[in-house]
Structures are given as C-alpha cells and as structure tokens.
C-alpha cells in the first residue's frame, strides 16, 4: 500500500518527524564521538551550552542564523516556482560588491540614516542582477538554471578576487580587502543597541540584520501566499501549462522570482559586510549560500520552517565551534561530519520515517484514516 497519499495531522508532519530525524542524526553522531573515546552526552551538553548557555554564545548562534535565513529564503522562494537556485553563494558574494562600491563612494558624504538603506538596496540589487542573467538564460534560451547558477558561483568568485586583488584593494595592504568603511555606514551591533536601553551583553557579531532577516521572512510569506504575484508564482511552479492557460507568463515569473531570490541571497552581505567586517573581504560568504539549500529543504520552504532550520544550523555552527574548542580530540572535520549527518537525516532522508509513521497512525486511528481515504 502506498503511504504517500495518506494525510497525517500537521503536528506529526511538521514537528514529530523532523524532531525524530534530528534525534536519529544525533544518535549516529553520538556513535562517532563514542568511537573516538569521548562521552557523547558531554559533547551534546557542550554544544548546547556553547550555543545557548551564555550571552556570547547566543549572539554568535543568532548571527549565523541570520545568514541562513537569508539564503534559506532565497532557495525557498525559487523553489516555489520550481526553480533550483544553487547560486546563492555567488549572489551573496556579488551583493557584497554592491555594498562595497556604494560605501567606498559614499560613506564620507552621507549620514547613517541614508547609508544603511542604500547599503541594503545595493546588496539586494547586485544579488538580483547576478541572478537575473541565469534567469534570463533559463527563460529565453533554455539553459538549465541549476547549471548556470552553479557556474555563476565560480564566475562571481573569480570576479571578486580580481577586483579585490587588483582594483579595490587598500593600497599597501597585504590582504586582498577594501579599506574599512567609515563608522557611519556600520549596521548597528545588537550589543550596542541593547547598551542604549541599559542591557549589558558581551560584544558579538550579531547586528540589526537579524531583525531585517525576520522582516524578510514576513515579507516572503506575504508575497508567496497573500498576493496575486505569489499566486502566479506558485501556479507557474505547479504547472506551466495551467499557468499559461490562466494568462500567467511563465518567463516573466522565472525572471522576477530569480531576481527576488538573488536579492535575498545578496542580503547576506548586509549581515557580513555592513554588519561584521565593515569592509569587503575574500570569501565572506563561507558556504552560507550552499547551506541555504539544506535550510530550505529542512524548513519545507516555509518561512517559519526556515527560521527554525536556520536556528538549528546556527546552533550547529556555534555549538560545533565550541565543541572543537573544548574537546581537542574532536577536530573541525568531525564537526563537519556531525553537521553532515544532521543534513542527511533531516534533508535527504526527511521522508524516511513517514511510511512507518503512517502505519502507526493508521493502527491508532483506523476509523478516521479510513474516513479520509474515502
């Protein structure tokens, strides 16, 4: 009997199965830790304590979360139009170029109230522009978006290295990076803002971008589910023929959706370049664009799910760093393996437990299930 068409209550689909997946992943990760002679329970304790146990840990966790929300949203919105945007990494990188160019030109002349929105818009515009080209190629030339967006990551990387090494580099500097922007263009840090209202927390990279990320979640939710454009987007994603019949132009949908997706990915630069580094540096994207794919998968392409999945990845990143710090036997490669297991179980094997769940559910609730079948 096929189980895929049996409906399960929402709390099983959305809460129970993901939690069980994470538990399974943690179990296997625990086996690895046990095999090298450390206590798995202690390791989990260190990870959670490192992520939530003190204010600095929380700050770093939420700082990573911010990046994942942006890239996760970018992948998710494209996915609703059945476009697989693997180019978040490159779009974020080029978004950083947008911020950099805007601030290198303007940061001495304008006040903060103007610079912050300009930086955000520049990041979004450049990210969108970088996504526009693959989108156009997909819509009008039939080049597959997966291939082109992957390739554009490499092009972005090469462009940025060229510009940072040859053009934008601060003269006399050893490292390929721009000069530091003037302080008026910095995204306010959370610890600074909390200090204003009298709450004293340790300094962390967490900044106002986190709030921006949450706002983006709300906007994406409204866009996809509460507007005509979102309706057109979902229709084109579900069935192109139906969309055409309904008077929706799929080519336009591809272009618009990819531009929004690229803009969201470009926002990573707001967090990293405007918020933390205050200059354009090499590889500030650090793989967040790729992790965004896993975040969107785990979050079931829904903003709420993406926030939760991003938080989980934030915990993994920050807690993982703490683990490598506290347990010298656990190397950073092992931390990546543990993260990989969690992605494997909650992303790739997300539906592994579902058939079993359906059977259990049918056994417990035969009458209701039969009613649904009919």
């Amino acid at each position: 009997m096929s189980t895929s068409n049996v409906e399960l209550p929402a709390w099983i689909e959305v809460i129970l199965i993901p939690v069980l997946n994470i538990c399974l992943a943690l179990f296997f990760a625990g086996l690895i830790i046990f095999a090298i002679g450390e206590s798995p329970l202690e390791a989990v304790g260190i990870m959670l304590n490192g992520a939530f146990g003190y204010d600095e840990g929380v700050g770093y966790t939420l700082y990573y979360t911010t990046n994942f929300i942006f890239t996760g949203l970018a992948v998710a919105i494209a996915f609703h139009a059945r476009l697989f945007n693997i180019g978040g990494e490159g779009q974020a990188y080029i978004g950083g170029l947008g911020v950099g160019l805007a601030f290198l030109l303007l940061d001495g002349y304008l006040p903060t109230v103007l610079l912050l929105p300009i930086g955000i818009i520049a990041a979004a515009l450049f990210g969108a522009a970088w996504a526009f080209i693959p989108a156009w190629l997909q819509a009008y030339r039939g080049s597959h978006i997966v291939i082109t967006t992957i390739m554009f990551n490499f092009i972005a990387s090469a462009v940025m290295v060229y510009l940072l090494v040859n053009v934008l580099i601060k003269p006399g500097s050893m490292s390929p990076e721009t000069r530091e922007f003037s302080q008026s263009s910095w995204m306010p840090f959370m610890h600074e803002m909390l200090a204003v209202v009298g709450i004293d927390v340790t300094r962390t990279p967490l900044n106002l971008s986190f709030i921006l990320a949450l706002v983006c979640c709300l906007l994406v939710w409204i866009y996809i589910w509460k507007t005509r454009w979102g309706y057109a987007l979902r229709t084109a994603g579900q069935s192109e023929a139906a969309a055409v019949y309904a008077g929706i132009k799929p080519k336009r949908i591809i272009i618009i959706t990819m531009c929004i997706s690229g803009a969201l990915a470009g926002m990573v630069a707001v967090n990293e370049v405007m918020g933390v580094h205050h200059r354009v540096i090499l590889n500030f994207t650090a793989g967040y664009g790729f992790t965004g794919i896993a975040v969107a998968l785990m979050g079931r392409n829904h903003p709420v799910g993406i926030i939760l999945a991003s938080l989980l990845f934030g915990v993994l990143y920050q807690g993982g760093a703490e683990l490598a710090f506290e347990m010298p036997k656990i190397t950073r490669e092992m931390v990546v393996a543990i993260q990989g297991l969690i992605i494997l179980f909650s992303g790739a094997l997300a539906l592994m437990l579902r058939p079993a769940m359906v059977k259990i559910w049918l056994a417990i609730m035969p009458a209701r299930a039969v009613a649904q079948h009919g």
Binding site: G37, S39, Y60, Y63, Y64, F154, S157, A158, V161, Y162, V165, I169, P171, G172, S173, M174, S175, P176, P205, E272, V276, H277, I281, L282, N283, F284, A286, G287, Y317, A321, A324, F325, P328, T331, R332, V335, V336
Partner: protein, 338 residues
Amino acid sequence: MKLTTRLLRTGLAATASLVLAATATAADIEPAVVFDMGGKFDKSFNQGVYDGAERFKNETGLKYREFEVTNEAQREQALRRMAQRGADPVLGIGFAQAPALEKVAKEFPDVRFAIIDMVVDLPNVRSIVFKEHEGSFLVGALAALASESGKVGFVGGMDIPLIRRFACGYEQGAKHVNPDADVIQNMTGTTPAAWNDPGRGGELTKSQFERGVDVVYAAAGGTGVGVYQAAKDAGKLAIGVDSNQNYLHPGTMLTSMLKRVDVAAYNVFMDAKNDEFTAGIQVLGLAEEGVGWAIDEHNESMITGEMKAKVDELSEMIKSGDLTVHDYTSDNTCKVAG
C-alpha cells in the same frame, strides 16, 4: 558499564591535573595558537607553526590550547575565547587574523599576543613578518643558474599580493644572474581551493615544461605536491617552499625556500615562558635567518660549488644592504632591475 569506567577515568584525570596545577610554578604559562583556514596539517605554513608549537611542548612539557578556524567570524571568537580562558600568550596565524587580533588585543591589554605575517601595532602584540622576497630571490638565482634552457617557471597558489611577492622576488633573482632569463608565471586559481589542488598544479607545471621551462618553483601550499610530482615525472627540477621539502623527491628537488614560521612560533612561546617576551615588530629576512634556502643530504649533489658560491655572495649582499630586493606589496608592482 563502559561509560561508568570512562567517567571514572575522566574524574581521576581531572583530579590528577588539579594536583599538577597546584604544584605548578609561576613560570608556567598556558600558550594558545589559533590556526587559520588551511588547518594545522597543510604541509606548509600552518604546519610549520604546529611543528614549532609541538617542539615547545616536547621540550617544556607544557600543553598549549589550539583551535582551527573554519570561517571568518570564528577568528575573533576563538582569539577572545582563548584570552578569556586565561591563555597567554595567544598566537594568531596568518595575515587574515590581523583585524580580529587587533580588536581582541585591545580588550585584553594584560594578555600577550603575537601574529605571524602581519603587523598589529599595539603594546601587547608581537608582530612577525617575513621577507619572502629575499628568500625567493635566492632560489630564483639558483633556478637560473641550474637552468639549461634559460627558462624558469613559477606556480603560485591563490592570486593574492603575498604570493605575488614570492613571484616578484623569484623573478628578480633569476634575472639578476641571467638578464635574458625567461620567467613564466602561473597562478593556480582565484579561490582558496587553489591552495590544495595538486592536479591543476601538475597540469600548469607540464604546460610550463612544454614551453621550455626546466626549473619550477611552487609557492602554492598543498598544490605544490602536484608540481613536484610533475617535475619528477618529466625529469626536471623543482623548488619547494616554506618548510624544507627537499626530502620529497631527492634528485628532483633543487632546494626549498625556507620560511621559518616554526622558529617564530617556538620563540613566541619560549620567550613568554622565560619572561623575555617583547612586543613590537620583528621583520625576519635573510639577515635574521627568518628566510633562506635549504641545503642538506638530499640536494647537495645537485648544487655545484659555483652555484653555492654565487648564491652565498648574493645572500651576503642582501644581508649587508648592498643589494635590495623589491617588495611587491610595498607598492603593488613588480619592478625588476637590470
């Protein structure tokens, strides 16, 4: 059952270390090192530091804390955590850690910091930089002396100013002994993957050989392994970098350009232990023996007396200041005299 024994053992170990800590003398320090993205086993730069730290551990019996960063934000975090945990001195590896180290060093003025490959100008920071162009100049001269075709090659890792500094010194050295020398340069790539791409390194080397090169110098981290292998396969000569890599392929490895990060790291820890730690800038060139070229049992048969005499002469001229090697990063251009 097993878990209980393990917990018991952990408990015992903790008690033992407490007892040890109680008997420790005031001269004992808790040094820490924060490795950069390459990781401590990169067979090159970070590993040199690791070797130096291990030597310190073996000689003194003192343990050190360590961390390998995996993204940009972790640098500051790791340095701060080390300082919070009472580590002293804290050693940061690589130019990329400079902004983070500067911030953290300001927050902990009583903790001693050190950084390799970059200058952080603070009263509690020792900055150690190397004149890679001087060492590269010497191996460039050696390459031109050993070359029969008059064409020598350079394979860099990622295309950044630091590596151009190597390339520029090398070119100056080659052209100093042979003004007609052709120096063919290739960079492996534009992303950090270029530090660990032996396959591409080998291909670049082969294409240089096809263009007539017969000595190749690699400044490319793990990519160098492919360069040396290609040289061995083609029966040409290769020059190693950072650590002494002469042992890799005796008969192929003409020499290695040494950059003594191991000594620098060891000295930071040792000076702190002996209360001789000094802040400020240390510029380690040929004169300070921070850079140099390697001659040992693996390559002495390949270096003729003439070659050695010439390179030693150049080395003395650089040390005394009669000959200056242009530093690419001083003005981001490569001026080759002569």
